[in-house]
C-alpha cells in the first residue's frame, strides 16, 4: 500500500493550560502622546478587572502551540480530499501572495472611491468573468458564502414577485438538495415543498407538474445535481416553472462540472450562486471564510442587494447605493474582497481554455474512479455522471460495515473520507469528487485503498468498523459530547 504511514504527533494542551504569568509575546512602541490617568479618560466603573483565565505566553510558546495543532489536520496540500459536492481542489499559492499585497490586505472599505480604483477594478473584472462563465447578466459579490448567496437569491425572487403584486408562498426543492437550500428558503419567509427524484436520479417532471401552481415562487435546483447527474430535462423544467410565472434558482455548488461546457444562463436559470471556495480555488480555511457571489438575469437586476458596483462615464468605478428596488443589504461592506482577489487570480491563470480543461479533467477523474470502483461498490443510479459519483454501502452493509466505517478506514490509508450519508435519497451514500488537480497516481492510490477496504469488509469487518487505527485519536464519543456539552475551557 503506497500511502499508509504514521508520523510524529506531539501532544499539546490548550493555550489556557500553558500559561506562565509574566511571559509575553508582544511589544508596543512607547506611547508618543501626552497621557493622563486612564480613569480620568473613562469612568472607572466602565473599566474591567483583569480577564480571568486569559493565558500569558511567549512568542515561541504561541508558535509551537499552533504548529503542533496544525500537524493534526489533514489538508489538501497533503493529499486527495474526495469530498463530494465540496470541490476540494488545489489552492494555488500565487492566490495567497496577491491577496496579501499591502494595497489589498490593508485597504479600508470606506476609503473614497478614487483611492481604491484598483480594488474596485478587480471586483468589476471578477463580476464580468462570473457573468460570462455562468451565462448571466449581472453579479453581486456581496454574499459571504454559499448559503448566504442562496438567501440573497431567494430574497431577490421574493422582491421580484412582490413587485408584481404577490410574493407567493412556496419554493420547490428536490429531495436530493443540500441542507442549506430548505434552510435558506425558510429564512426567506417561504414554505419548503420537497419534490421527488425519478429512477434516473433526476427531477421527476410529472411530480414537478403536479407540484406547480401560481403559488410557487421558484424551484431551487442543483445542476449537475448532488448525484453528479446533469438534469438533462433542465430546459423542460425551466419551461414548466416559467409557465406559472415562477423562477428557477440554481445552486451552483457543482459549477466545476460546467466551465466552458454549458452555462446556467443558457438553460433557463434566472438566478444562481457560485461558491468561490469550491470552483474558484479560494481556500476552505478549515470551515471558512467562503464567498458566494450571486448571478442573475436582467429581470432580477433591480433587486440586487445594495450597493452594486457602478461605472462612471470616465471609466472609474464606484459603489452605487441608489437602488430603490434592492432587497437591501445582506452584509456589511461589499463581500469577502480577499476571496475575490484569489478567485480572479485563479480565473486569469487559467483563461478560457484552462477553465474548460479543468472541467474536462475533473469529469475524467470522477469517471475513472467510477469505472474502477463500480464492481466493488453498489451504484444506486447508472445514469452518466459528471464531476462526482455516488456509490452506496449496500454490498458492505451485508457484512455490517456502514458508509461511516468505510470513510473512517480510509483515514488509515492516508486519505480524507468522502462525503458520507449524503445525498439523503441514497441510503448509505458514498459521494466522491476528486477534482482535476489530482494526478493519476493519487487517484490510483485512492482506488487501491477503496478496493482494499471493500475486501476487508468481507474478510475482517471488525477491522473496518473500529477504524481509524492509526489516526491521532480514535472515534469520538459524539453522543457523550452532545449530552453534556463542554464548549469552553474552565479553570
Amino acid at each position: 500500500m503506497s500511502r499508509t504511514s504514521s508520523h510524529i504527533s506531539l501532544n499539546e494542551r490548550l493555550l489556557f493550560e500553558r500559561s506562565s504569568p509574566g511571559r509575553h509575546a508582544y511589544d508596543l512602541p512607547l506611547l508618543d502622546t501626552p497621557s493622563r490617568p486612564v480613569n480620568e479618560i473613562v469612568d472607572g466603573a466602565l473599566l474591567r478587572d483583569d480577564i480571568a483565565g486569559m493565558p500569558e505566553l511567549s512568542e515561541g510558546d504561541v508558535v509551537r502551540h499552533f504548529t503542533r495543532l496544525s500537524t493534526w489536520n489533514y489538508h489538501i496540500d497533503l493529499g486527495l480530499y474526495p469530498l463530494g459536492s465540496c470541490t476540494m481542489k488545489y489552492n494555488p499559492k500565487v492566490n495567497e501572495v496577491v491577496a496579501r499585497l499591502h494595497g489589498f490586505a490593508h485597504a479600508h472599505p470606506y476609503m473614497p472611491a478614487e483611492l481604491v480604483q484598483g480594488a474596485l477594478r478587480i471586483q468589476s473584472t471578477l463580476e464580468s468573468c462570473l457573468a460570462e462563465i455562468s451565462g448571466m447578466d449581472a453579479v453581486t459579490l456581496q454574499p459571504a458564502a454559499g448559503a448566504h448567496g442562496e438567501l440573497t437569491g431567494i430574497l431577490m425572487i421574493r422582491a421580484y414577485h412582490e413587485s408584481l403584486g404577490n410574493p407567493r408562498r412556496r419554493v420547490l426543492v428536490p429531495d436530493s438538495a443540500h441542507g442549506t437550500n430548505p434552510a435558506s428558503v425558510t429564512i426567506s419567509g417561504y414554505a419548503v415543498e420537497h419534490i421527488p427524484s425519478n429512477s434516473r436520479g433526476t427531477v421527476d417532471l410529472e411530480g414537478l407538474r403536479r407540484a406547480m401552481s401560481n403559488d410557487v415562487a421558484a424551484i431551487m435546483i442543483t445542476n449537475p445535481n448532488t448525484l453528479g447527474i446533469f438534469e438533462s430535462d433542465i430546459s423542460a423544467i425551466a419551461e414548466i416553472v416559467h409557465s406559472h410565472g415562477s423562477l428557477v434558482y440554481m445552486d451552483g455548488a457543482n459549477m466545476n462540472a460546467m466551465m466552458g461546457i454549458t452555462r446556467a444562463g443558457d438553460f433557463g436559470v434566472d438566478v444562481l450562486h457560485i461558491n468561490l471556495h469550491k470552483t474558484f480555488t479560494t481556500p476552505h480555511g478549515g470551515g471558512g471564510p467562503g464567498s458566494g457571489p450571486v448571478a442573475v438575469k436582467r429581470i432580477l437586476e433591480p433587486h440586487l442587494p445594495r450597493p452594486v458596483l457602478g461605472k462612471k462615464q470616465d471609466g472609474s468605478f464606484f459603489y452605487d447605493d441608489d437602488r430603490p428596488q434592492s432587497i437591501g443589504k445582506i452584509k456589511a461592506y461589499y463581500g469577502h474582497f480577499g476571496m475575490h482577489v484569489r478567485a480572479l487570480c485563479y480565473i486569469l491563470a487559467n483563461g478560457p481554455e484552462g477553465l474548460k480543461t479543468a472541467t474536462e479533467i475533473a469529469v475524467l477523474n470522477a469517471n475513472y474512479i467510477r469505472t474502477k470502483l463500480k464492481d466493488a461498490y453498489a451504484m444506486p443510479f447508472h445514469t452518466p455522471t459528471l464531476h462526482e459519483v455516488v456509490f452506496s454501502d449496500r454490498n458492505q452493509a451485508q457484512h455490517g460495515v456502514g458508509v461511516g466505517d468505510i470513510g473512517k478506514r480510509l483515514i488509515d490509508y492516508g486519505f480524507h473520507p468522502p462525503t458520507v450519508s449524503f445525498p439523503l435519497i441514497v441510503p448509505g451514500a458514498i459521494m466522491i469528487e476528486p477534482t482535476e488537480t489530482e494526478s493519476r497516481q493519487e487517484l490510483d492510490a485512492f482506488i487501491e485503498a477503496m478496493l482494499a477496504i471493500a475486501k476487508e469488509a468481507e474478510s475482517d469487518p471488525t477491522l473496518v468498523k473500529t477504524a481509524p487505527h492509526n489516526a491521532r485519536i480514535s472515534r469520538v464519543d459524539e453522543a457523550g459530547a452532545a449530552r453534556k456539552p463542554i464548549l469552553r475551557w474552565k479553570p
Partner: protein, 440 residues
C-alpha cells in the same frame, strides 16, 4: 495548465482503461443544444510573472500611502507577524470543515480556544465557532431572540452600525419582525427614557452597541436591566472587539454578538472578517452556527468534535436555527493567535494606547481648531467632529494625503458636516498633529 497534473498520455490511458476514446463522450448527459459552441469570453491565460504584475499594478492603484483615520466598524491595529506566519500553514488554510474529527483535531482545538477566548472577553458562558461578520452576527442574534421569546418586535439603537441595521432590516422584513429605532442623547449614548417608553411585553429584544457607532461607551447594564424588566432579551453588539480588553464586559446581556476583525484580521477592503456570537448556557440550543465541544475518544483521550449539530441545516434542513453552513474558521484562528500573542497585559496596554491617543486627538481638536467634538460621554477610539462653516478642510486634508474620517451625514441626516474619526495605537503623534493642523 500548471494546476492540472493530467498529461496527454495520462488522459489517453485513462480513457482507454474506461473503453472511451475522447473526453467529449463523458459529457453525453448534457443535451447537445445546451453545449457552449465557443470558448468563454474571458481574458486569456496569464503566466505567473504576468499575474504578479497584474495584481501588483492593481494594488498600487489602491492608495496605501494615505494616513487614514477611518474606523466605523473596520479597524487598523498592529497584527503581530506570527499571526500570518501561522495561518499561512497549509495544514490550517487548505483544510476542510472539521467534520472528520480524527484528522481535524488541530482546527477543532483552535476553534475551542476561540470559543473560550470569546466567553472570557464578553463575560458570556458560551460562544460559537464564529459567523460571517459583525452585521450577520447581530442579525442572527436578533433571530435567536425571536426564537427564544417567540416575540416579533425589536428595539434597536440608532447608534448601532448603520450597515448592521440595514442587514437586520433585510432579514426582518421577510420574517415578519418589526424594528423600532431608539435615538441617542447629546451625550452620544442611547436615550434610555425613549427606550423605556417603547418597551412593552411584546418586545423580543433590545439591541445596543458598545462602543457605539460614534465611539461612545454605553451603560450596557442599564440597557439590559430595562430590557429584562419587560421580559425582552438584551443584545449587545460589539464592532470594536479590542475594546473588550479594557472595558467592562456586557455581562448582563443575554447575547453579545459582533465583529472580531480588530483582533488580528486584516481590513482587506471589508472582508473576510469574523463575526462572533456569545450567550448564556441556557440558550445554547437556540444558537446559530457551528460549535466545538470537548469530549473523549474510545480510549478515553481528550478529543474535540463539532457538537449539538441537530441545530444545523445539514441535519435539520428547513427546521434549522439558521441557514448558515460555514463559519469564518481561518479568521477565527487569526483572532485566537492574536489573543494568545497579546495576552491579557498586551491587550490592556494596546487598549490604553487607543484611549490615550484618542483622548489626545480629541483635546487637540477641541483646543486648536474651530470645530466641535460632539458627544462628551466616554469613548474608546472613535469620536465625531462637527466641521464648522463651509469648511473645505476635508479636501485640504485629502490633498495632504490624509483621509480624516468617515462623513456620517448619509446615515444621520441631522449630522451634516460631521465626520467619524478613529485613532488607534498605530496612529503616530505626528499624524494626529498633521490632522489637527489640517483642520485649523
Amino acid at each position: 495548465m500548471r494546476y492540472i497534473p493530467c498529461s496527454e498520455s495520462d488522459r489517453k490511458e485513462m480513457l482507454a482503461s474506461m473503453g472511451l476514446d475522447s473526453i467529449e463522450q463523458l459529457f453525453s448527459g448534457i443535451p447537445e443544444d445546451l453545449r457552449l459552441q465557443r470558448l468563454l469570453d474571458i481574458p486569456a491565460a496569464l503566466s505567473e510573472p504576468e499575474l504578479l504584475d497584474y495584481f501588483h499594478k492593481a494594488a498600487a492603484e489602491n492608495s496605501s500611502g494615505h494616513t487614514s483615520f477611518l474606523g466605523a466598524g473596520v479597524y487598523r491595529h498592529h497584527i503581530p507577524v506570527i499571526v500570518d506566519a501561522l495561518i499561512a500553514r497549509s495544514e490550517f488554510y487548505t483544510a476542510y470543515t472539521p467534520y472528520q474529527a480524527e484528522i481535524a483535531q488541530g482546527t477543532l482545538q483552535a476553534i475551542f480556544e476561540f470559543q473560550t477566548y470569546m466567553t472570557q472577553l464578553t463575560g458570556m458562558e458560551v460562544a460559537n465557532a464564529s459567523l460571517y461578520d459583525g452585521s450577520t452576527a447581530a442579525t442572527e442574534a436578533m433571530l435567536m431572540a425571536h426564537r427564544v421569546t417567540k416575540r416579533n418586535r425589536f428595539l434597536v439603537a440608532r447608534t448601532v452600525h448603520p450597515e448592521y441595521r440595514a442587514v437586520m432590516a433585510t432579514y426582518a422584513r421577510n420574517l415578519g419582525l418589526d424594528i423600532e429605532l431608539i435615538g441617542y442623547l447629546p451625550s452620544g449614548r442611547i436615550d434610555l427614557s425613549q427606550l423605556q417608553a417603547a418597551l412593552k411585553d411584546t418586545v423580543a429584544g433590545v439591541v445596543a452597541q458598545s462602543p457605539n457607532f460614534f465611539g461612545t461607551i454605553e451603560d450596557t447594564a442599564a440597557v439590559a436591566a430595562l430590557a429584562h424588566s419587560h421580559g425582552a432579551l438584551s443584545i449587545v453588539n460589539v464592532c470594536e472587539a479590542l475594546s473588550l480588553g479594557i472595558l467592562r464586559p456586557p455581562a448582563e446581556a443575554d447575547i453579545v454578538a459582533g465583529e472580531a476583525q480588530s483582533l488580528g484580521v486584516p481590513m482587506s477592503f471589508g472582508g473576510p472578517h469574523v463575526g462572533f456570537l456569545a450567550t448564556r448556557d441556557k440558550f445554547v440550543r437556540q444558537m446559530p452556527g457551528r460549535l466545538v465541544g470537548m469530549g473523549k475518544d474510545q480510549q478515553g483521550r481528550r478529543a474535540f468534535v463539532l457538537t449539538l449539530s441537530t441545530r444545523e441545516q445539514h441535519i435539520r434542513r428547513e427546521k434549522a436555527t439558521s441557514n448558515i453552513c460555514t463559519n469564518q474558521s481561518l479568521c477565527a484562528l487569526m483572532a485566537t493567535i492574536y489573543l494568545a500573542t497579546l495576552g491579557p497585559k498586551g491587550l490592556r496596554e494596546t487598549c490604553e494606547q487607543n484611549l490615550q491617543k484618542t483622548d489626545y486627538a480629541v483635546r487637540q481638536i477641541q483646543e486648536r481648531t474651530p470645530h466641535t467634538v460632539l458627544f462628551p460621554a466616554a469613548r474608546f477610539n472613535e469620536f465625531v467632529v462637527q466641521l464648522q462653516g463651509s469648511s473645505n478642510c476635508i479636501q485640504k486634508l485629502m490633498s495632504r494625503n490624509i483621509v480624516p474620517g468617515l462623513p456620517v451625514e448619509r446615515y444621520y441626516p441631522e449630522l451634516a458636516s460631521c465626520i467619524l474619526v478613529c485613532v488607534t495605537e498605530t496612529t503616530r503623534r505626528e499624524q494626529i498633529d498633521a490632522l489637527v493642523e489640517g483642520l485649523q
